[in-house]
């Protein structure tokens, strides 16, 4: 390859021509354009696009994360609201149950009390009855003793001991058959 730089050897310039030299120039310019495209793409366009893409990916991921967090927050909020509602329902249910149980206990206690009172009353009546019967019996015995003492004193002078015992037994037998008035 030799380079001719002599002015006399240089062809005359032209503004436009459709000849071989023009198409050689087209080829050179095409190569130049390809080299420039490669260089600008490598040094400028791709790096800047990568910066932009990295940032937009970062922003997208942050937005996505924010959206996910928001959804999670909504879910938690809904869950806690539901739980609060459940707690309220549970509270009311516990209160109702407690009230019902208390009412049941009260009824049970009242029934027990009534039963106890009735039992106590019945036992008291029975005791009173028993005491009264005992009293009547003791009173009869006392009257009989007094009567016997009086009668014994009165009759001791008239009858012997054997007659006296027989009469006493007869009197006792009669007393046992007599219905006592209450």
């Amino acid at each position: 390859m030799s380079i001719l730089t002599l002015a006399a050897a240089l062809p005359e310039g032209r503004a436009f021509a459709l000849d071989l030299q023009m198409f050689i120039s087209v080829g050179i310019q095409l190569i130049n354009a390809c080299i420039l495209a490669g260089a600008l793409s490598f040094f400028l366009y791709k790096p800047v696009r990568n910066i932009l893409q990295a940032r937009s990916e970062k922003i997208e991921s942050q937005l996505s994360k924010a959206e996910t967090d928001m959804l999670e927050a909504d879910r938690l909020k809904a869950m806690y609201s539901e739980k609060l509602e459940d707690i309220e329902k549970e509270r009311l249910a516990i209160l109702d149950e407690a009230r019902a149980e208390a009412a049941q206990n009260i009824r049970q206690m009242l029934d027990d009390c009534r039963r106890d009172v009735t039992g106590i009353k019945e036992r008291a009546f029975a005791d009173v009855q028993k005491e009264r019967e005992q009293l009547h019996l003791e009173m009869a015995k006392y009257i009989l003793d007094v009567s016997m003492t009086m009668a014994g004193k009165f009759i001791s002078h008239a009858i012997d001991q054997e007659t006296q015992d027989r009469i006493f037994q007869e009197a006792i037998s009669e007393l046992e058959t007599v219905p006592w008035q209450h």
């Binding site: 240089l10 062809p11 005359e12 310039g13 030299q21 400028l44 366009y45 800047v48």
Partner: protein, 232 residues
């Protein structure tokens, strides 16, 4: 007053003369500027901040705006062409703006615009075959195989029209600026060119860059069967 593209060197490559034109040299200068700037930015952005500011903010904004432009023209499924179009966009924009500094914009040479358009043509075929395979090739023979030559011409017309649109606009602006600098009175040449540079180099330069890229992207998107977010 010279609108011609100077030849700076002539190389002999395998017995074939290769003319190194001012366009090619200016292209290399612009390439060097862009690549060095890209490397510097790359080094400065080695440890990016999570809250961008300064250069990082500016670069992110540029890439985001560019990606937004891509998304308006093509489906996200073929966003991988963004690598190519980013450099094409940067190259055409800087080339068009270079007129402000007195450079002859490489885009004022049909060789440059046609090369970029040819790259678009290649990209159209690659993307079309990659995404639609046989269906894409079948389109060349529709509605009937007789129409193949017409379809082929239609396909080839795309890059040619694309290249001439950019070339014509930039060359037109350059010719106008050259005429103003050459023919206008001296007092006109002091302030007036500022407005013309703003219009032809900055405004039309940016506009034509956008138009070239969007039309080219639309062709690529159509070849893939996905344009403006609507998958076929």
């Amino acid at each position: 007053m010279d609108f011609n593209i100077d030849n700076l060197w002539v190389l002999q490559v395998g017995g074939q003369e290769v003319w190194i034109t001012r366009t090619i040299l200016n292209t290399w200068i612009i390439m060097a500027f862009l690549i060095v700037a890209a490397i510097v930015i790359n080094v400065l952005l080695r440890n990016p901040s999570s809250t961008p500011k300064g250069l990082q903010n500016a670069m992110e904004m540029i890439v985001e705006v560019f990606d937004g432009m891509l998304k308006t023209a093509i489906d996200p499924g073929i966003m991988y062409v963004g690598n190519w179009y980013f450099s094409v966009f940067a190259f055409i924009l800087v080339s068009n703006f270079s007129g402000v500094l007195g450079f002859r914009p490489p885009t004022a040479d049909w060789a440059t615009t046609f090369a970029l358009a040819m790259a678009t043509l290649i990209l159209i075929q690659v993307v079309g075959i990659r995404h639609r395979k046989g269906e894409y090739i079948k389109e060349f023979f529709s509605p009937n195989f007789v129409f193949f030559p017409l379809n082929l011409i239609g396909e080839l017309a795309r890059p040619i029209s694309l290249s001439f649109r950019l070339f014509g606009n930039i060359l037109g602006g350059m010719i106008l600026m050259t005429l103003v600098y050459s023919l206008a009175p001296i007092f006109v040449r002091i302030f007036f060119p500022v407005f013309l540079h703003a219009i032809f180099d900055i405004f039309f330069g940016a506009l034509q860059t956008y138009i070239f890229c969007v039309i080219s992207l639309t062709f690529v998107g159509a070849a893939a069967g996905v344009v403006s977010g609507n998958a076929e």
